[in-house]
Amino acid sequence: NHKQGARRGARMALAVTGGGGLALLAGILIIGNIVGSFELDDVLAAGDQIKAHAMYPVALTLVLLGAFTKSAQFPFHFWLPHAMEAPTPVSAYLHSATMVKAGVFLMARFYPALAGTEQWFYMVSFTGMATLLLGAYIAMFKHDLKGLLAYSTVSHLGLITLLFGMGTKLAAVAAVFHIINHATFKASLFMAAGIIDHETGTRDMRRINGLWRYMPHTATLAMVAASSMAGVPLLNGFLSKEMFFAESLQLNLPGVIAWLPPIVATLAGIFAVAYSARFIHDVFFNGKPVNLPIYPPHEPPRYMKIPVEILVFACLMVGMFPAFSVGPLLYSASFATLGGEVPDYKLALMHGFNLPLMMSIAAFVGGLIMYTQRHKFFAFHARFREIDEKAVFASVVSRIVDLAHRFTASIENGSLQRYGMLLVVSVIAVAMVPLASLGVFVGESGLSPVDWPTGIAAAVLIVSALATAFCHRERFMALVLLSVVGLIVALGFARFSAPDLAMTQLSVEVVTIVLLMLALYYMPSWTPRDSLAGRRLRDVVLAAITGIGMTLVTLAMLTQPFSSISEFFLENSKSGGGGTNVVNVILVDFRGFDTLGEITVLAIAALGIYALLKDTALTPPPSDGQGHAWTRDAHPLMLKQLARPLLPLALMVSAYIFLRGHNLPGGGFIAGLITSIALLVQYIATGLVPTQDRIRFKYHNVIGLGLLFATIAGAGSLAFGHPFLTSTFEYLKWPVVGKFEVASALIFDLGVYLAVIGATLLALVSIGRLSPHSAIRSPRGKS
């Protein structure tokens, strides 16, 4: 498919020039760093500083890489011809003369700053030579008109590059001169080719023959331009080419290499003459056309020829009266390139009978011979399989992509445990060093004695924890052991002076058990052994390391003397927060903002759970782990009967816990959980439908109300110009009631209370609703 080939060409061109661009960017940035400025003038002025700098080789390489890719130098020569077939927008972008010559101009621009060193010479001139020769050679074997021209362009760009590489000032002038000349004749040739394509409908020289008869005018123009390309005297191409030959001889290189430039130049000249001859003869003579798509071809409309005429005229003028015509332009351009003092050069038709002229003649004769003997060469060339760079490029890319894909897949393999392992290992890696240097450290405060009940409790906890891990595959048993751990943790909080924590832990514990029981119903009742022994060993080791690490830190931490900002809380809790339960005052006042965030988390979790399960269907196993079918009675009589008196009593307890919270252990959160659990008992004992019929509110709204109360309680203070969450409290004395406290923080705590109830119940009931027995599957129910 031609179009797709074109696109591949475009992608290749993009990649090559883009990559080159990046290299160039890097080079320029380095230069900028060296000079300390990105002003072009400063850079050009600081040439010696740059060349002296250690980074110069890198910078030069990068800049040249950019230049070579852009100006299609070997080995990046391949993209240019393909770019010409690319989809119009892309080719317009790439193929515009600026883009193609950009690289060359670039070298011209940076010439003063970078040229004149060994590295410059070898890199530039040898690349130039290779390109010059290769381009000319390939051009000769192209059957496509544009292809021929394209590779000729490549070759000429090589020539110009070579000239810049030589590093002499005259060479630079010659380069500039040739840029100008090449632009003129190559542009006219491309247009001519365009006309022919337009008139005959093809660019294949094997079919295009003897056009002289059909479009003599165009033919004349094209032939003149082609001759200039070949370097025929009296035409501009000849002049710059002479200069080039001359310069190729001026290089003082060691030994045999000295012969390389002139020989390469002559060879290239021979090819150039040959393909130019082919362009003239094979197109305009050489018998009759072979079934052209458009037959017979005509002269194109006038306006199409005008630009060609102008350009060809330019070729002639420059060729015959160089000094008069191109002199000023050349001088100024050379001045710009060299950055000052332009060497004196002579623009004349003839410099006398000298070696360069001999080379030209040799090239001319050789070229004609080569063209006449072209069939041999074609035969010779045909022996080599022409490599399709596009295919190469495509296969390279696809190989890279494939490689990347396999690499990624092997690392990012969707194993949660691998990611978790990486996380754990990272933590170990970073914490290892400091902790190792800490070692088994016991601080100044030293160890306090262990009372044996606590010791036994700790032992029980440790055993239960280990047992949980050990028989985690026996899920129910593991859960029972887990709740033992939870219970002892709660007792631990009580043991170490944290009554509020003990209560919180206990109530959360119960809700969690219910939660896990609700979930376990749908899950397999035991875990199959998935991981291999080696893997288990690895995990045990990782676990052990983290455990030891935590032990060491804790030990060091607990035995170090310590002072904290908490003195402030103890001092201001009563006076500033109006409560004697400092923990609660911190929660609803000093750090009330944390608590606001905390209940928001709870609320979001519940809403998320609701959303997650809304349209989830789960089929529970028909029987338990040992295969006993579930019993029929869902709501045992005794439980049902107990649930009734329990609710009011529990509500009262929660009211009690709530109201005392500000001054004694308790508070909104714990009270909220008590209420939630009391209601949960109703659900468990009597089922979803009856309970929800009796609860006259939607949990969403309870959550919203909770958050709203908390926010309003906080925002109330704004009215008095105090910041958000500033608490106020007042000790009122009413006739009957007597003295009592009203605290804005209590409203905040009420918000907490409601949010907790709403969130807990919404979450658990959403899971309960999954049950196939539950009548209400739709969210329209009262929650």
């Binding site: 949660l416 691998r418 170490f496 935590m550 750090r591 759970i609």
Partner: protein, 123 residues
Amino acid sequence: MELVFALVIGTLTATGVYLLLRARTFPVVMGLTLLSYGVNLFLFSSGRLATGQQPILGSTENYADPLPQALVLTAIVIGFAMTAFLVVMSLRNLADNDDDHVDGKQPKRPAEEDEQEEEARGK
């Protein structure tokens, strides 16, 4: 006492981590629970250990550091919310992929062991 406390925290962390690295959601849930027990105790103990010094003004002479207690309370609540969500996520996972395996590909060999085991349990 400090050493005992440290050992408890160490054990909780270790067992938690081990379970976290299991291939099924349920052990992971349990692992996270154990881990958060450990973490909460650790955060709690960052205010040092005190006996009978509950930070209720007037209930004793000197008081334990109340700030870590408040922090842990927040942590417990958030932990609960997260656990609940995770449990529901694994339920959802069960519903979507009718399996609670989350460790990429399932290994072949151990599965056979399971069958024998299942025979054994089928009492």
